[in-house]
């Protein structure tokens, strides 16, 4: 399957990555090479094979729904590029 320029642009958009217009063709060509390389998997017969999601069969454990580490807004905001009144600050979203 060949991936066209439109699809490469869409994938970049979904990934929140910007590709300069003059690079789209190079990126697309490389992308196609990789996709056709992984398509060798089509040779493998996987009829009636269950997908493997986790290598361990352990069951996830339940815990009480209670606060274990709370009240540390200052630590959480310590690395924020911008913070005010115990909140992260981002560009205005609602007009």
């Amino acid at each position: 399957m060949s991936v066209d320029t439109q699809t490469v642009k869409k994938i970049a958009f979904l990934s929140h990555l910007k590709i300069d217009d003059d690079k789209i063709d190079t990126v697309g060509a490389e992308f196609n090479k990789i996709i056709s390389w992984v398509e060798q998997l089509n040779e493998a017969n996987t009829d009636n094979v269950e997908p493997l999601v986790s290598v361990n069969d352990t069951k996830l454990t339940l815990r009480k729904d209670e606060v274990v580490e709370g009240n540390q807004a200052d630590k959480i905001l310590k690395n924020a590029p911008a913070a005010e009144y115990d909140y992260f600050v981002v560009p205005k979203v609602v007009e």
Partner: protein, 485 residues
């Protein structure tokens, strides 16, 4: 360069106990050697003040006769482990200046056992790479034949190089597709990726969560056992860590391998396999035969699909895990006209080429219309690969293979630069182990004609690191590999 920095952990612990040197003297010796070896670019951050403060505590504990199991052992920490109040970036520009407010479980276990932190080690950005050339902080030079400017392997390239160059007693690493074992092989040191679930992933920056595992890189097999002992164990903060008793790993070193069945997979000897590597593999087989082990030919028929399955599953998980880096809460922010533009600008400037490539592949294989064809298919193939090992382990107790099809190559190598796939092919012997969640170790077996280390890989049953330590110790004893002095 100092003599005491060349000791193994077990020798260092002896020296500290017998008061041949203090933890402070030892730490100062390491800090001096680190400075002398800055040309390797193994450390991206040195933490001398913290190291000396920890050394002081260690000396007090020795004086009081209450040393802990790793008291006074100076370690290097891969920059992917969050260390409290110490900058941690996974060697990505997008985590510029990030200072974690908490400690990863693995490093807190090591420090609680008395280990000392010398600094943070270089790596491929977010552990994506096999040469350490994808680091925002620049490549690492392999300490073997420095003048030849070879890669140390990756992604734990700084870890393997630092251990080989004796600028830490041992290091932490992580391994998603070979990132502990391949650099260990390239640098002539020993590293183990334990069974998935053996170590907690809490506080380790996630690359591909179903594959990532932490493990040690050290000077010998015994040191790996000592460190893994400290790093292992159930952690309620990682739901995939397994609640199983941790065996006494060092107690298996020195045990006999008589009657042990060693599996040799036919698929790992493809046509055109480097002859020197094939010969060293045979040497490993011969050593174990002489020690009384039984050699069994096995088949892992789906090996040929492992790389393609890996390069769908790992990028898929990465694209999801790396969605959190958006410029809003930590790290690099590049402003934009609106929120979306800020996200896109931050990510476009913050991520390197290989990381962007994998995010895009992952986004593609998970997107509507392609999910079944790629992602689901890869997960089914993953099952086939795991089944191969289940079948093989009915016939043998442990598997012996080469670690990598190549020895270390030059920084900026043309063939590797030509296509990302060329670089990925180096993972051919290591990725299956991660897909199946099994433990795997690389240990040095000898040097190529032009003086570069080769590694052999031992693959064990799930949660059977013991057999790996037992078998590796025999190979190590007979191979008599000489570490860099």
């Amino acid at each position: 360069m100092s003599d005491i920095t060349k000791l193994t952990i077990s020798q260092t612990l002896e020296g500290l106990k017998n008061k041949q040197f203090s933890a402070t003297e030892l730490t100062k010796a390491y800090l001096q050697d680190m400075e002398a070896k800055r040309n390797l670019n193994a450390y991206v951050l040195e933490t001398p003040e913290q190291a000396l403060a920890q050394a002081k505590v260690a000396d007090t504990n020795y004086a009081n006769g209450t040393p802990r199991t790793l008291e006074g052992i100076p370690l290097g920490i891969k920059d992917i482990f969050c260390t409290k109040d110490v900058r941690t970036t996974a060697c990505s520009h997008i985590l510029d200046g990030f200072v974690p407010q908490y400690e990863s479980t693995v490093t807190s276990k090591l420090f609680n056992d008395g280990a000392i932190c010398l600094g943070k080690l270089n790596m491929d950005e977010f552990a994506m790479g096999g040469s350490n050339e994808n680091s925002f902080y620049g490549p690492v030079v392999n300490p073997w034949h420095e003048e030849r400017n070879l890669v140390p392997g990756g992604s734990s390239g700084g870890s393997a190089a630092a251990v080989a160059a004796n600028i830490c007693a041992a290091a932490t690493g992580t391994d998603t597709g070979g990132s502990i074992r391949q650099p260990a092989a390239f640098c002539g040191v020993t590293g183990i990726k334990p069974t998935y679930g053996r170590c907690s992933r809490y506080g380790i920056m996630a690359f591909a969560s179903s594959l990532d595992q932490a493990g040690p890189i050290a000077k010998d097999v015994k040191d790996c056992a000592i460190l893994l002992q400290s790093m292992s164990g159930y952690d309620p903060k990682d739901s995939t860590s397994v609640n199983k008793e941790v065996p006494n790993f060092t107690s298996f070193i020195g045990q006999s391998v008589k009657g042990l069945k060693i599996g040799i997979p036919a698929e790992y000897r493809p046509q055109g396999l480097n002859q020197e590597i094939a010969d060293y593999w045979d040497k490993g087989i011969e050593i174990l035969k002489q020690a009384g082990a039984e050699i069994v030919n096995i088949s892992l028929p789906n090996t040929k699909y492992a790389l393609a399955a890996y390069y769908i599953i790992a990028p898929a998980e990465a694209s999801s895990n790396l969605a959190r880096y958006d410029g809003a809460r930590y790290g690099l922010r590049i402003d934009g006209k609106n929120l979306d533009e800020m996200y896109t600008n931050s990510r476009t400037s913050g991520f390197g080429a290989e990381v962007k490539r994998r995010i895009m592949i992952g986004t593609y294989v998970l997107s509507a219309g392609y999910y079944d064809a790629y992602y689901l298919k890869a997960q089914k193939v993953r099952r086939l690969i795991q089944n191969d090992f289940v079948e093989a382990f009915k016939k043998c107790d442990i598997i012996l293979t080469p670690t990598s099809p190549l020895a270390a190559f030059p920084i900026g190598d043309k063939t590797m630069r030509e296509s990302p796939i060329n670089m990925w092919l180096n993972d051919v012997f290591t990725v299956s182990v991660n897909l199946a969640g099994l433990p795997g170790m690389s240990l040095p077996i000898g040097l190529s004609k032009d003086g570069l280390p080769f590694g052999l890989q031992l693959i064990g049953r799930s949660f059977d690191e013991e057999t790996i330590f037992k078998t590796a110790a025999i190979i190590e004893q007979e191979a008599k590999f000489e570490r860099l002095k």
